[in-house]
């Protein structure tokens, strides 16, 4: 495996994000330029005068990575150079504050691969809700409380938004499925035009679980049907990762502190049913079970 992300970075012990980045860079190879928005990734990998990046890397702002990457891509074209242009950012910049920039980049059709490592909240600032936070997850701005069961809204369907822009390659992936992830990155960077990959990336601090369980939890998200692994090419669903015997969502939820209240508080059982229904809907929509 090519190590294009050096050790010595400052991510939490047990964080999935560096593994996601290592896998993405391994697939993309050294002829790659990465733009990252403000994020855990940016802060933990580039404390001046150090950098973990072994490929050229640029940070500008929280909400403009896609526009900056558009500029990199257009300049490559201008100078008749060839390199993969990647954005690697978290869900805060991808789903929320950078939506305008992302929409512009998708719509203009830049040959940029946008990889979102999705840890489902603003982790860099201390676990606040994002547009990607799942239904009834506890965050510091959607806390569970006497009259609250956590985040009141379901997760935004970002792949559908990418698809609505006619992004020719849209896929989901997981840190627990490295072969699948690398294959998808390779496919994305070969795509003429923009591509979008959303990678499930558990956060030990925000989701609250023991450090060693990072990959296991990511795997459970897939095995319950809550994180379907799919691939759209030119708007057509071309591939899904089948789940042999879907596990109940409780298996996934009970392993994380952010859902602890659902197992303790009145009304929690009803929510668990609703979340199971979301998993079942995914299973049916993507035909996850043969």
């Amino acid at each position: 495996m090519q190590n294009l992300l050096a050790p010595g970075h400052r991510a939490c012990a047990g964080c999935s994000m560096p593994t996601v980045v290592r896998l993405v860079l391994d697939a993309a190879g050294p002829n790659t330029i990465v733009v990252s928005p403000t994020s855990c990734l940016e802060v933990t990998t580039t404390p001046f005068p150090e950098s973990a990046w072994c490929v050229p890397w640029l940070h500008s702002l929280f909400e403009n990575a896609a526009a900056v990457a558009s500029g990199v891509e257009i300049a490559l074209k201008r100078f008749h150079k060839d390199a993969n242009v990647l954005v690697i950012g978290g869900d805060g910049s991808t789903f929320d504050i950078g939506m305008g920039s992302n929409s512009g980049m998708f719509e203009r059709g830049h040959k940029v691969t946008y990889v979102c490592y999705d840890n489902e909240a603003y982790m860099n600032t201390g676990v606040q809700r994002s547009g990607s936070t799942p239904f009834c997850a506890h965050t510091t701005t959607t806390p569970s409380g006497e009259i609250s069961l956590g985040n009141p809204r379901p997760k935004k369907d970002m792949p559908a938004i990418a698809l609505a822009h006619r992004v020719p390659y849209v896929a989901t992936a997981s840190v627990a499925y490295p072969v699948d992830l690398r294959r998808k990155v390779k496919k994305a960077i070969e795509t003429q035009g923009p591509s979008y990959i959303q990678v499930n990336a558990p956060c030990i601090t925000g989701w609250t679980f023991d450090a060693g369980k990072t990959v296991e939890i990511a795997r459970l998200a897939v095995e319950t049907g809550l994180w379907p692994l799919f691939e759209y090419v030119n708007g057509q669903l071309t591939e899904v990762k089948k789940v042999r015997r879907p596990k109940p969502v409780e298996d996934y939820l009970k392993s994380q502190g952010r859902y602890r209240h659902l197992f303790k508080k009145p009304g929690g059982t009803e929510v668990l049913k609703q979340i199971q229904a979301m998993a079942d809907a995914n299973i049916s929509k993507y035909c996850l079970v043969d």
Binding site: A6, F48, P49, S51, A211
Partner: protein
């Protein structure tokens, strides 16, 4: 401390000067006899700390953990399909 220049160009891979091994409480030990060389520990390691090296005695390819950087998170232990990696409380 390196000098600050007008433009903050930073050298690639330069975080390696920071030995995050100091963060560790538990240290992973690989039982080479149980290892089937599936490389999952290398793939999943967030610290890029698991490397394939030649065993100095046998000359075989083995997996080795660079303790300069390993933060002792335990993902390798947890994911090892043969339970060949064990976390131990580190004596410092």
């Amino acid at each position: 401390m390196s000098k600050v220049k007008a433009i903050e160009f930073v050298e690639p891979g330069s975080t390696q000067i920071t030995k995050t091994g100091a963060w560790r409480t538990f240290v992973p030990r690989i039982d080479q006899k149980k290892c089937i060389k599936c490389s999952l520990c290398e793939i999943y390691c967030p610290e890029s700390s698991v490397h394939q090296v030649k065993d100095p005695i046998s000359g075989d390819l083995i997996f080795d953990i660079d303790l300069n950087y390993c933060k002792g998170c335990g993902i390798c232990e947890h994911e090892c399909p043969r339970h060949a990696i064990k976390l131990e409380l580190e004596e410092k």
